[in-house]
């Protein structure tokens, strides 16, 4: 005997992949293979890659979305009469979601009993994709089941990778997220939801709670952008709780601000005002009032005052905001543009059209230079300008601007977004003024559908638009009755 020693080496993922594929090819009967991989999105990539390497093999992929008790029963149900060459299963950890009790969960315990029955049901390799904590649970809770394995394949099991993914997903700014195409954002939400769930399922020792909270806030932000206010509200409240404990005041102020925005968009102005005030006070106490964050909170507070038609208070606040902006971020900044827009909107409401138009044009110019034209914020600016033209009776100019704004919306925020609904509703009002009731009706109906889903049936905006529908219908009836005699 040569007495060779084991040479420790890093695992090469390509080789792991190839060997895993080989293990599937080599098996002529039941065999059990574990793939240890902490990231669900990564698991899916591996499955895809494996299926590519096993192109001539019939692979049945099963995702266990819900909590189950008997893996074998579930496999029997899923397979029916199918006779695949291999079965891949992921999502098992959904059945024992809590790391500390996983080993005693019903699911893990029954795995062990049924270990001898798997080969009666399956005559092919069974590949289970699991995060580390789940594999540990099986190792401890279903030792016999674990012991009949023919291999465990490790793919980047390090918690740092989850964190890397987290920073990758949390690094995008709000405006970038808002600018995502509708489909892209839905996918992003799904990815972050999975990442978040998976991160929460890691053993506590491996969890970086700061990062986890950042992920939580990013998810809340995405919900907010998509108009899913209920989900956003819950997550922001958790985030605030976390920052109150960690005493991170700047992050706390930003979370308070974000929660206030959620309230504001749901029409809960009182709650929103309290939160914005708390947020701005926190910033003032920690970094002073010459700070962009302070300006942001004041601006938001001003917007709630606008909702309440407290215009003078709002204008005073916004003037203070613009002054701080000029001293901190400068004039060539989308945030400065946004604040100008807000001031202009108040002038519009007050009928001071000329002052408003100048400000809107200034804002559009800044946005064109900074974020570009294919952006929902730019669309918002167009829509604002168009509103004034509408009020001035410049209908054709207004209609063109609205249509341009809606086109940008469809390409960026999608057709289910509250902002898209606002722009649609603006255009419908224009049509109404032009007595194009049929066109107006189809738009307000669409707006109504969106608001039912985003704001709920009892929201004032939803009720407003319902009234719009009634008015259009009434006008159409009047028109019809006028037309009828001519027909005969």
């Amino acid at each position: 005997m040569n007495n060779l020693d084991l040479e420790l080496q890093e695992l090469d993922e390509k080789r792991q992949m190839r060997n895993l594929a080989n293990a599937v090819k080599l098996a002529d009967s039941f065999s059990l293979l574990f793939v240890r991989c902490n990231q669900r999105p990564r698991q899916k990539e591996i499955i895809k890659e494996l299926k590519g390497q096993l192109a001539e093999y019939k692979i049945k992929v099963i995702f266990l979305e819900n909590q189950i008790e008997h893996l074998l029963d579930e496999l029997e149900k899923e397979l029916g009469d199918e006779k695949p060459d291999s079965v891949f299963v992921y999502g098992l950890e959904n059945s024992f979601p809590k790391a500390d009790t996983a080993a005693e969960s019903k699911f893990v315990v029954t795995l062990n009993h049924s270990r001898n029955s798997f080969k009666k049901v399956l005559n092919c390799p069974l590949v289970l994709f699991l995060p580390e904590y789940a594999l540990s649970a099986i190792y401890h809770g279903a030792t016999d089941f674990y012991s009949i394995r023919s291999g465990v394949y490790l793919f980047s099991a390090k918690a740092e990778e989850t964190e890397q993914l987290i920073s990758q997903h949390t690094s995008q700014a709000y405006r970038e997220l808002e600018g995502l195409l509708f489909e892209e954002r839905q996918n992003r939400i799904k990815t972050i939801e999975e990442l978040f769930a998976e991160y929460q399922s890691l053993p506590v020792s491996q969890r970086n709670l700061d990062k986890e909270n950042r992920l939580r806030e990013k998810l809340a932000e995405l919900y907010y952008i998509s108009g899913e206010y209920g989900k956003a509200q819950n997550l922001y409240q958790e985030a605030i709780e976390y920052y109150r404990n960690s005493k991170d005041l700047i992050l706390l102020s930003s979370a308070l601000n974000n929660l206030a925005l959620v309230y504001k968009n749901q029409g809960e102005n009182g709650e929103a005002i309290n939160l914005f005030r708390e947020a701005s006070e926190l910033v003032k106490e920690t970094v002073g009032r010459k700070h962009p964050d302070y300006a942001i909170h004041l601006n938001n507070l001003a917007l709630v005052f606008v909702n309440q038609r407290r215009y003078d208070e709002a204008i005073d606040l916004l003037k203070e905001v613009l002054e701080i902006d000029r001293e901190t971020i400068g004039k060539k900044h989308p945030t400065y543009a946004a604040h100008i827009n807000n001031l202009a909107s108040i002038y519009t409401d007050q009928g001071k059209y000329d002052e408003a138009i100048d400000l809107f044009k200034e804002a559009l110019e800044i946005n064109r230079e900074t974020i570009g034209e294919n952006h929902p914020v730019y669309a918002g600016g167009l829509s604002n300008l168009a509103l004034i033209y509408t009020n001035q009776g410049r209908y054709n100019e207004a209609a063109n601007l609205f249509k341009e704004a809606l086109k940008i919306d469809r390409e960026t925020i999608g057709r289910k977004h509250p902002n898209y609904a606002i722009h649609l509703s603006n255009l419908s009002k224009l049509y109404y003024k032009q007595k194009k009731y049929q066109e107006a009706l189809s738009l307000v109906e669409e707006v109504h559908q969106i608001r039912l889903k985003t704001l709920g049936v009892n929201h004032p905006d939803t009720r407003d638009i319902k009234m719009g529908i009634d008015m259009c219908r009434m006008k159409l009836k009047e028109k019809a009755s006028i037309l009828v005699p001519y027909k005969n």
Binding site: H113, Y139, G151
Partner: protein, 478 residues
Amino acid sequence: MDSQIAKIYGACNPDNPASKEFYYDCSAARGKNVFVEQIKDHIVLANASMHEFSDAGDYKCFLFTGHSGCGKSSELKRLVRELDSYSEESRFYPIFIDANEYLDKFDVTITDILLAIATETADILQKDESLKIKGGYFKKFTEKLGETVFADWEIEKIGVDLPYGFPKLDIKRLAKDDSARKLVRQALKDDTYLLLREINSLLVNARNEIQNLAAHGASQNYKDVVIILDNLEKIERFGDAEMGLESARKLFLNFSTQLTAIESHIIYTVPIDLMRSNDASVIGKLYDKSFVLPMVKVFQRDGETPFEIGVEAMTEILKLRLGGIERKAAFTDEALDLLIKYSGGHIRTFLLFAREACTDADALPITAENVNYAINSEYQNISPNFFPTYTWEVLAKLDLSSNQNIDVEPAQCVEVLEKLLLFEYINGDDETAGNQKPNDRNRQTPWYAVNPIYRELDQFKAAKEKLSNPPQENTEVE
């Protein structure tokens, strides 16, 4: 893909106990621990004396243990073949019961165990067409269960389909059905004694039949029945005891009366941590004899010097699995060396490594490089998070101690044994092992070594380092 690799991959499936064609007798490498022969001798002897000196049965109750995956079931299967085969002295009628099929290992009571024994014993006996056992054994019980638990089950009707016994499939179903199991226990809760008596009565009848088979044309009579209850060591929770060792204690200590009351030679498998715990001496008094199957010794106690007999045994095990393929054509010498060394003589690990090496190879022979990668793959998957932090210190202490008398919680010691972090070996009459006095006691004293793959872990190395260089005490300077 090389079809021969697929053949090796299939043959090295560690899932099943070795069948006759794959069985290799490693007893010389397990410290001359000829378990099968010893048990058979004990049984033969007991039977001989029984008939000469008394009417009452002198039935032996044995305990059998060893590391999970070290070859216990393979040895028991071989025992079954040996007992049942013709020999000059005698043959025995084996009843092999796999406890896994009947028990929910997280929820077991003595009733469940007796029910498993009764069901399987009756089933085997009545399926044997050479036996003509009559009498409605267990009828009282099945009637009782039929009224309550099995009322709406589609059960095999005892008395219609079967002359006696329990509906086997339905009893097996209890392993998966908590609520039915509770009902059965409730229905039979006062019947443990009756159940035992009925089992024994069936065994008396069976004995009469098997001892007179020759009169009905069979070539040889059986001397007696031997019941083997395999996988009983897997029980995690017995009654309301704590999980693990506590549960094993409760079953094998508190219920030894019931376990030994079956009037037949019987072998139970027990967990290795129980046999190496402080309770071992008490258990020794309660049962007739216990056997521990150690690892195949592949190296000496220094962990370095190979033990040729063990190395040869592992090689033979692999050769049997290779079928027609020449060993050197399948695995290079270096590949085989690595496989053996890092298996530590644990057969399931050995086959698992061989199997994983197959997936890394493009063509035969499988090289040391392939094996190295396979072991690495397993090694990287050992997550230190899987084990409590004291584990590494316990292992390091054992590794550094010359007499392996170490100062830690016995519970921690037996835990590492049970989790396969630590392997048990016996020198037997290995002359090269440095047995100072080649007496039986020395030869059969077990020694322990850390599972070779865990020796590579940083946590283990660090613990060892720390223990070998204790930090110097700082003397205060004024």
